[in-house]
């Protein structure tokens, strides 16, 4: 027998885990109405007159207008991209809460990934160093220190 009983059970668990994930991508959630799309889209835009709130959060007049505008465009069948373009054209780029992916602004998407990769690379390097540290030998300084302490000790004992 190649597989032990234990590893068969583990393979079954793994299979169940993965198939549950696959199933989850296939089943349909609750129907996505136009309202749900409006809500999702309105979270992507800043309310121009309020301090840092999104259109979804704010009850300001402009926010309500934008929500109504998004609603109308969704009902007319516009795509998310078309709606974004229209809103940015009507207001300003600062309305779009998704930083664009090009130029200096786009660095915001790249820098965290670089930092993360760098962090884990550093962690791997540190692990290696610590492993090597296990075979570290005493330096000349260490030996000298111990010798001097020993001399002190024996001096005390003899006096």
């Amino acid at each position: 027998m190649i597989f032990s009983k234990k590893s068969i059970i583990w393979l079954c668990l793994l299979a169940a885990f993965l198939s549950a994930l696959v199933v989850s991508t296939q089943v349909d959630g609750p129907p996505r109405t136009n309202e749900d799309r409006v809500r999702a889209l309105s979270e992507d835009f800043a309310c121009p007159t309020c301090d840092g709130q999104s259109v979804a959060e704010s009850e300001a007049v402009v926010a309500q207008e934008i929500r109504r505008d998004i609603r109308r465009r969704v009902d007319e069948g516009e795509t998310d991209g078309q709606i974004t373009d229209a809103l940015v054209a009507a207001y300003d780029e600062s309305i779009d809460l998704r930083p664009r992916s090009g130029g200096v602004v786009g660095l915001i998407w790249i820098v965290p990934v670089v930092v993360m990769v760098f962090g884990f690379a550093a962690l791997a390097a540190v692990f290696r160093r610590w492993k090597d540290a296990a075979t570290q030998t005493a330096s000349d300084h260490d030996i000298e220190l111990i010798e001097s302490l020993r001399r002190e000790r024996s001096g005390e004992a003899s006096s």
Binding site: S24, T33, G52, A56, E59, V105, F127
Partner: protein, 658 residues
Amino acid sequence: MHVLIGYGAVSLGFAGALLGIGTTIVSLARKQPHLMRSVRVYVALIAVAAVVATVVMESALLQHDFSVKYVAEHGRIGTPVLFTIATLWGALEGSILLWALILVGYLAIVAWRFRDRSDDPMVGWALLTMLVVTAFFFGLMLGPANPFISVANPPDNGPGLNPLLQNNVFMAFHPPMLYLGYVGFTVPFAFAIGALVTGRVGEGWLVETRRWTVFAWGFLTFGIVLGAWWSYETLGWGGYWAWDPVENASFLPWLTGTAFIHSVMVQERRGMLRVWNLSLVCATFALTILGTFLTRSGVIASVHAFSESGIGPILLGFFAVIVAVTVGLIGWRGDALRSVGKIDSPVSREGAFLANNVVFAAFAFVVLLGTVWPLIIEAVNGDRIAVGNPFFDRMTMPIGFVLLFLMAMAPVLPWRKASGEVLGDRLFWPVVAGVGAMVASLLLGAAGWAPVLTFGLAGIAAGAAIRQLVLATKRQGWRGLVGRTNGGMIVHLGVILIAVAFAGSNAYLRQAEFSFERVGETKEFAGHTFTYVGDDELVSPDGRIDNQVLVEVDGTIERPALTLFPFAGRTLGTPSTRGSLIDDVQLSVIPTNEEDEKAVIRVTVQPLVRWLWIGGGLMAVGTALALVPGKRRRPTAPTSAMPTSDNPIDVDPPVVAV
């Protein structure tokens, strides 16, 4: 009168802090520990001053003494007493006063707690650090953030607190909790500085401050959860976290503080990560000051921010000093900070803690970057851009998954080294629980890989935490629920509930707007029925007018309203929330321009929201239990012996002898 006594008290506190600083320096420089006795007298003086200043301000608020500028600008006759008291932390100057009061509280407790060790230079330096921070905040109140300014011609009444802050009782409790957390990190920071200056960078300072750190962390957690709850109940759009700069400012020290709470265990156990832990503690404290700067300087627009003021540059300067001092000290002590321990295998408890730290640090970096990016871009090329929910959601989701995965694995990993067999045995039931959670969620109608993966990992993590608790209680009875490791597992369970609630409520949120034309009209949405019953008007004693829309939800009448605050000239929505453990139904009234008879209601149906607050409560309970001393091992116990399957995981990490 109030102005005179209040300003006098602030001046006295400032003078006391300066005298304390001077005496501590002399005592440390001349090695005269008996001088520290007089430092304790100055600390008592500062404490009296802070209490008097706070009492005077509250008295001015409650008596509506409009000759005090702060009261004239933020007080109002007719505001309910609770909110009048809470006005102290409703605006900039008062919030600095509350900060100073809490700081002095911590200072006094530290001075009293370490009264028998005044000859210890580390304690001396720690007190000195705390006194400097205290002097800084009293200095702020003497000048740029003076709460006690007199008004030449006092008005008859004031405008009152921002109505948004008066609409929910949570607002009265959320800031003090948060401040207890923020300010509490001053204590470990002060001891870290003490350790660096005296060169005693071993594990001693960690042991001294461990409970203080956990205490502060617990209040910060509780404060953040209360803030989310307030936001959810008040704003009425179905959200509880918006990655707003002010929310981020409270989240940043929480992230580094959480990383620290985990990585100290590696240092205590294995003597490693000295530089890293010192840096984390200092970063956490520095981030609380940076947060204070972001929320009080007007550089960042946020609904939660305080009004613009001149204290921004001063706070930024203080932040820069903290960073410079800590970086300088750590560089200076570089030699002594070399790690003495070693690591055997990445697949071990310490390996998981290290990965946890990298991920938490990256998390903090992402949040900080997203918060300040608009400022950076504006400085670089003058563009005005916005960074919001979509950025934070996309970047933090993978981080959340990695953290959840680590939370599932770490509690079953032994220290030093794990063998496949041990892991297989320990992980079996947790993984069964995780797969069970996934299948159950699919049967209940869950869809989409992200929430289902969350439920699966959450199931494993919960299994791992419960396994630890069961083993500990079997062995030690009720003591198996206290102590750092076991309390920590209860905190984990709270985090898991929050993760599940977060995934469920975000992924399955349903929202709709109904306009009801006539009474009796019924709508169906997301499995609930809504019937328009009528309107009502309610005038509260404090003058606010609730224009309620009565809607029957599944047989119960709900009263969402538009609330008019005549004294502030503002109308705000007062949503109604009806919840169960399964889902929340939130109704808010949408203001209509037309004078017609229809009522427009926004309905938000969100599953599992209630578990966020339950999870937050569980985190608080777990933190409290973690503070109760668990079973101590004798220092001679062979705690670092190679664990085997019949000598399972360590119940309580040892206290390293200093």
